[in-house]
């Protein structure tokens, strides 16, 4: 979801403190931010997302940039809140051992099968098999729709490092999915974009 051409107006209103502009930005960004925090294993993803947006809205007056820049900035704050949460809990996010038996999911139409099999729980389990850095890169690319360069900025890494993490993350995913052949959708080209 994108704010679109009205982004400049929305941003200006939000910087002036307008509640409606906060609402627009929150509806646009909160699902991805909350999903990012949840798939990273945050104990209270809703609370962390709220902290993130409180920080965003109170610091928005000093922001300068376009919509993509705002998304990168919001996810930078979310990622830092996540790191703080991990430090508070003094442990890394829980890592699932196995993604579960993907073949046990109900099936039918190939398109629906893929989405059902890779449901929320399965996705979380798959994310749990990824090392934290690889997971951060893939989730920021998928959920936040950030470029490799923007991800590098959010994570404080170099672009080649982010590319390497993405490559290794994709390989890990494919190995995991190949281990469970039934998880493969029958027609992926029809499956991924409806």
């Amino acid at each position: 979801m994108r704010t679109g051409p009205a982004f400049d107006d929305v941003l200006a209103a939000a910087q002036a403190g307008a509640a409606w502009a906060f609402e627009v930005l929150y509806r646009d960004l909160a699902p991805a931010v909350t999903g990012y925090l949840r798939l990273h294993g945050a104990a209270e993803p809703d609370d962390l997302a709220s902290e993130t947006f409180l920080g965003v809205f109170t610091g928005l007056a000093g922001f300068r940039g376009d919509e993509a820049g705002l998304r990168a900035w919001v996810f930078t704050i979310a990622h830092r809140r996540l790191l703080d949460d991990w430090r508070r809990r003094s442990r890394r996010p829980p890592i699932a051992d196995e993604p579960g038996n993907l073949a046990e999911r109900p099936g039918g139409d190939a398109e629906d099968d893929a989405l059902v099999r890779l449901g929320a729980e399965t996705v979380q389990q798959l994310c749990g098999t990824l090392p934290t850095d690889q997971r951060s890169v893939l989730l920021l690319r998928i959920l936040a729709d950030l470029t490799v360069e923007q991800v590098a900025g959010v994570l404080g890494r170099s672009v080649p490092s982010v590319k390497a993490l993405q490559r290794r993350g994709l390989r890990t995913l494919r190995e995991r999915l190949e281990r469970e052949p039934s998880a493969e959708p029958a027609h992926p080209s029809r499956t991924v974009r409806r």
């Binding site: 002036a16 403190g17 307008a18 509640a19 409606w20 502009a21 906060f22 609402e23 929150y26 509806r27 909160a30 699902p31 991805a32 931010v33 909350t34 999903g35 990012y36 949840r38 798939l39 993803p45 809703d46 609370d47 997302a49 709220s50 902290e51 947006f53 409180l54 809205f57 109170t58 893929a114 989405l115 890779l118 449901g119 929320a120 399965t122 996705v123 979380q124 798959l126 893939l138 690319r141 998928i142 959920l143 729709d145 993405q166 490559r167 994709l170 390989r171 995913l173 494919r174 999915l177 190949e178 998880a183 493969e184 959708p185 027609h187 992926p188 080209s189 499956t191 991924v192 974009r193």
Partner: protein, 242 residues
């Protein structure tokens, strides 16, 4: 089995998936994963009370509630700085005026009545400055027997040119005059040089200052020179070298 060449294809498929382009069949798993991730993150979380309040009411024009009291602080601080600056400026001006007054007084260029008062005050601190109604700079403390006292009786009209009898200011002591002398040369024998070098720099430690005394008995060979220092305590080592 994942081969190295597959990584490139997987990355291309991943980029195509993110861009919404068709994805090759061999990368269907990754594409399905991406789609499922997006689907799982389609609902915003439940906002906290503070965030709900912000979303409902926004930020008032004066700033958020947490910073409403902030505008007062700069005012208080600014006022404090203004008051402090005024005090500092006043103190600096006072110091400058005092320094100028002191400098002028030390130079003796103040009006005579003021200069006289200044000299009186300075004299209480043991500082001698030019005093048109006094004895002038460098004047030693007045001797009651000196005519200076008489000049106090001179009418004030004569103050600018005080009647100062000759000899008011005692002539400076000759430098060779011993302030603290050893035994006078007259005590020595006539053939003794007795040059009386007493220089008054006695350390008062009772050492080496018995020379002069020793000369008395020595019959004046040569150096009955009165080297006796200021602290010429002959009682310490009064043997002398005569």
């Amino acid at each position: 089995m994942i081969r190295a060449g597959d990584d490139t294809g997987a990355e291309e498929a991943f980029e195509a998936c993110l861009a919404g382009r068709p994805v090759p069949e061999e990368a269907a798993g990754v594409a399905a994963f991406a789609e499922a991730v997006r689907s799982s993150a389609s609902v915003p979380g439940r906002p906290s009370a503070a965030l709900s309040d912000l979303l409902a009411h926004g930020v008032p024009p004066g700033g958020p509630a947490t910073s409403r009291s902030r505008p007062r602080r700069p005012r208080v601080v600014r006022g404090w700085f203004q008051r402090t600056r005024a005090v500092v400026l006043a103190a600096a001006c006072a110091v400058l005026v005092l320094a100028a007054f002191t400098g002028a007084g030390a130079a003796g260029v103040l009006p005579d009545p003021v200069q006289h008062g200044f000299a009186t005050v300075a004299d209480t601190f043991g500082i001698s400055v030019s005093d048109p109604g006094g004895t002038g700079p460098g004047t030693p403390p007045a001797d009651p027997a000196t005519p200076t006292q008489e000049s106090d009786d001179v009418p004030t009209t004569a103050a600018p040119t005080p009647v100062r009898p000759t000899g008011t200011t005692p002539p400076p002591a000759p430098p060779e005059a011993p302030q603290v002398t050893g035994p006078p040369a007259t005590d020595t024998t006539p053939d003794a040089p007795g040059n009386g070098h007493g220089n008054g720099n006695g350390r008062g430690d009772g050492r080496g200052n018995g020379r002069g005394n020793g000369n008395d008995d020595a019959g004046g060979k040569d150096n009955g020179n009165g080297h006796g220092n200021a602290g010429g305590n002959a009682d310490s080592k009064g043997s002398g070298n005569g």
